[in-house]
Symmetry: C2
Subunit: 280 residues, 2 copies
């Protein structure tokens, strides 16, 4: 890994989810602010409600195991259409209208993200209480070495702004449904030797909250030690845990800055007081 | 326009339609042969039956005027999902499995194809026999100057193989449904100053047929003069006319070679005896 100097170009990787994508006005405001961010940048987007709605419209039963969606072949078709097609191309067209040179990508394009299909897992089924072989279907797991840094830096250094849906492939013609938070994190880690990389997770809150009912109680900084305390106090739990694990994984692996906050407040990044900052 | 020399790199632009896309085995064979084509290359794909099926599945009424589909906003969503999402990403994943460095693109990506939304046309409605203002909806019209040659050549010259769906945009955040034959033709014309460009239209026949019922009666070459005769004899009519107009438009505008034939026979391109050749 080469040393990062002050001359190393800056790269911001922003991840947005359903709470932005499902609200046209909020999305539009976010994209306008994303366009104004200085330096190189990448947008990673998740899904939102549209895939669920389309599944219902075509009469597809959603299968869940332990609270997680199983991606069978029909579900994979739906998420490929909605994430890599409808959402991705509309975000790109909207950014292009701001003269932001967005290019919409899946992990298959340019072999940019090569994932491993998750193997059948032996887990306790929370409904039956029995250990079972659980197949999550066409789900992809990614690591930093899943990223084709050569092809991706060609795009970035030539002025394209990558906009990633979280659809990846396994290099054997199989598309895979992948967690968008993890995609953002592995992109940040893989690119951190070449850019001064910031990873910004946008979600529905202003940051990690001390008190879930008080939007003003943002914890401005979390380090490994305070993270331990916050977990012990049960202030951080359930859905926030994987996001924070991704964040710490990134900051421990060369990413310079990680923030978690609300897409509405992206302009605060300028003064580094956006949401919660994750530090070592 | 710079002169084309023998040193000018070769570029093949291949267009495939529903008759390939709807048949997995045929598509697979085609993609394998596409992968083996020498030189730079671009794939342009049309739609197929999947968009119609999805429209029916979600209960969307298909509107036709004078035999042509009207792209209302819901239809645009469907074709964006199916063409730019499902079909495009599956083709890319299949090409990547052959180690062909495909990158899936719409015209919005990298602002590569900037189309004009078709204005309301005053046409005779063939059902009513009355001249009417007919709005084909979110349909894009493209010309050679619609193509962003700078961004596209960056991709090509860096080893990416563009795979285009025929979804374009107008630069004002509006995606548009565009004719895939025309997209292939304008790409070929726009790139012909920089590459020794061949345009290859694949369709269900082995070429333009002298006798529609005899698959062996391929007309090996058509020039403007024989085209006139063939039209006068009613051997070329209806659906073949726009395809041949696109072909002649291309060959008159700097494209070096234009062929029309069957995707199954792509290997014949090597000896230049693929289907029907269009000449000046």
């Amino acid at each position: 890994m080469q040393a990062i100097s002050k001359q190393t170009p800056k790269l911001s990787i922003i991840k947005i989810g359903g709470n932005v994508i499902d609200k046209p006005e909020k999305l539009q405001k976010f994209l306008s602010e994303f366009n104004h961010l200085p330096g190189y940048k990448i947008l990673v987007h998740g899904g939102g409600k549209m895939a669920t709605k389309l599944s219902q419209d075509v009469g597809l039963q959603i299968k869940m195991v332990n609270g997680r969606r199983v991606t069978d072949s029909q579900t994979l078709q739906i998420v490929t259409m909605v994430y890599a097609g409808l959402i991705n191309k509309n975000i790109v067209a909207n950014l292009q209208a701001f003269k932001c040179n967005a290019i919409g990508l899946s992990g298959a394009d340019g072999n940019l993200i090569n994932a491993k299909k998750r193997s059948v897992q032996h887990l306790k089924n929370q409904e039956t209480g029995i250990n079972e072989a659980i197949d999550f279907g066409f789900v992809g797991d990614v690591e930093a070495n899943s990223v084709n840094v050569k092809n991706l830096t060609i795009l970035i250094n030539n002025g394209f702004i990558p906009v990633f849906s979280a659809i990846t492939h396994n290099g054997e013609a199989q598309l895979l449904n992948t967690n968008a938070d993890t995609v953002a994190s592995v992109l940040a880690v893989a690119l951190s030797p070449f850019y001064h990389t910031s990873l910004i997770y946008c979600f529905e809150k202003k940051g990690v909250l001390q008190n879930i009912d008080d939007e003003q109680s943002v914890i401005t900084e979390i380090n490994p030690s305070t993270f331990k305390t916050l977990k012990a106090q049960n202030i951080i739990h359930s859905g926030m845990l994987p996001k924070l694990h991704n964040a710490f994984e990134a900051i421990h692996s060369g990413v310079k800055q990680v923030f978690i906050g609300n897409a509405d407040e992206l302009t605060l990044l300028k003064n580094q007081n956006f949401g919660t900052r994750i530090t070592i």
